[in-house]
Symmetry: C2
Subunit: 321 residues, 2 copies
């Protein structure tokens, strides 16, 4: 574990609890001393942790913010240029690009655990942070199958289920459901507050809910959204298109029915995805189409919940085809 | 009380609990029979309730959806053309316009209790629905001072506090904090769901919170937003402007800092308005500037909490001037 903040620290705890060998390192002296005080194995330096990973061919996990990834990759290039590598950064294409540029020999499969809190740092973590959460594991046609298994095992050890997804489709999905919500919350909060104390005094649940994430530390939100720029732009454009259509309809015919109905249908899709019955299946990990079959599973709302020698156990909605 | 649904039924209960004489009528046989079964006084017909109001010069409360207001006003024109009248509809200019057109002799002061649930009908109501809620009372320069007192008394009897506001400024404020949130939630829900089951599987708290109100019955949301069209259009335009600026900045420099910071400041304004210390004052109800002084109180986040013969007791943030 390179990085022992909220995510890295929680992974270290969860993997330890699962009874698997793991060790961490971080440049944060606060996180390091708190982890040591809690009895977890922490190497003195990132270099030391990496050398130990090379000796045992261990999976290296980058658990750092996007802007710290480049520096860590430079160290990896120097000390562990062919290591097994994954990461937990919330955007995948920018990390994959950096890996390709900085450490082309590394065996890399990206990941993204969909869990977190408003807090940060070792102290905010827990071994249960990923329990029942989705953990996206990048599933590319040219991905390293052995490292893919390592990352799936890591996610399952943490209590998460695995959603297989390609790099681009992951970034497009989180642009819609993680980053656009922050942009729209910011817009709503600003327009609302421009109404002054009277508007704030009349604000009720709809405004409070719609602006909740605007209370998150602005530097974190801006960095997260900016890091997914290529995928966020088309999502913002879709929102602009829909909002502009609502505006036009309201101004011309006075009707908002189409906008409101589409929103209601969208919200029902979220509720349905959480209520849908999932059926257990096994997917054999043989043949050239494995990555595409796994991505297709993710696209229809399925997930990997178990790992066997030549197969994965999955849960998925019944295939309608 | 004309109308015994969620709001009207809750007012009937609360005023009864406050020990003041009140009676209701409704065209909904379900609401009427449930109210009677619960022991509340319900007239057989709206006409009967109105005749009784004329006999006692009682305050008539329109507790019906906007699209039912015209029909009730026609009955009032016929049977009680000079009655004291208020309403609880969530937009004020359209109701005031209808009152002016249909019943020009009526003594009308509009109101809007800021409370509700996703449910509707008598059965969903309670005598505590308005406890500690804001109840906007329209405070116009040419308003009827006696009826204004009636409506303030009604709101206080229901356990609410009164926010004095002009008709237009009320509609502008709720466009920002009640109606725009519904439009943006609909846009977000639609764009998110367009990402398919994969996006829904990765949706977490930010998407769930930002789309919660998109789960409300679409006919209710559309009618509510469309009813405030004149005030909602400029609020949507402000949102379009801010979202377009975010898009431009993200596409050109890659930065979302300005958008995110403005949103954070806006959300802090909401939190501050809920945490601010309010100081008790008395405002004398004498002189021609009373309405403007009361509106100014509302504009700086103040509220009326008590009614005396020639004054109101208010709570307000310290005046910085």
């Amino acid at each position: 574990m390179l990085g022992l903040g909220l995510i890295g620290g929680s992974v270290l705890r969860a993997v330890t609890a699962a009874g698997r060998p793991v060790w961490g390192a971080t440049t944060s002296t606060v996180d390091a001393s708190e982890a040591v005080a809690a009895g977890y194995p922490v190497e003195q330096t990132v270099a030391g942790a990496l050398r130990r990973a090379v000796d045992t061919d261990a999976l290296v996990v980058l658990a750092a913010p996007l802007d710290a990834v480049g520096g860590l990759l430079a160290t990896i290039t120097e000390l562990a240029p062919q290591c097994r590598l994954t990461d937990v950064v919330s955007v995948k294409a920018p990390v994959a690009d950096m890996v390709r540029r900085h450490t082309p020999l590394v065996r890399y499969v990206g990941g993204h655990p969909m869990a977190g809190t408003a807090e940060s740092g070792w102290a905010a973590g827990s071994e249960d942070l990923f329990r029942d959460a989705a953990w996206v594991v990048n599933t590319e046609d040219d991905g390293d199958a052995a490292v893919w298994r390592d990352v799936v095992r890591l996610a399952l050890d943490c209590g998460a289920h695995v959603v297989p997804a390609g790099i681009e489709e992951h970034d497009a999905a989180v642009a819609r459901v993680s980053h656009l919500p922050h942009v729209l919350a910011a817009v709503l909060a600003a327009v609302g507050a421009d109404g002054g104390p009277l508007a704030m005094a009349l604000a009720a649940g709809s405004f409070a809910d719609g602006t909740r994430v605007a209370g998150t530390r602005p530097e974190l939100v801006a960095a997260m959204c900016e890091g997914n720029r290529d995928a966020l732009l088309p999502a913002v454009d879709e929102a602009l298109g829909r909002l502009g259509a609502a505006r036009g309809s309201l101004a011309s015919t006075g009707a908002l029915t189409a906008t409101v109905r589409a929103g209601h249908t969208g919200r029902q899709a979220l509720d349905a995805s959480r209520a849908i019955e999932l059926v257990e299946e096994r997917v054999e990990l043989t043949g050239a189409t494995v990555p595409e079959r796994l991505r297709e599973l993710g696209r229809r709302g399925g997930r990997v919940i178990g790992l066997e020698e030549h197969a994965v156990v999955v849960r998925a909605p019944r295939d309608e085809d």
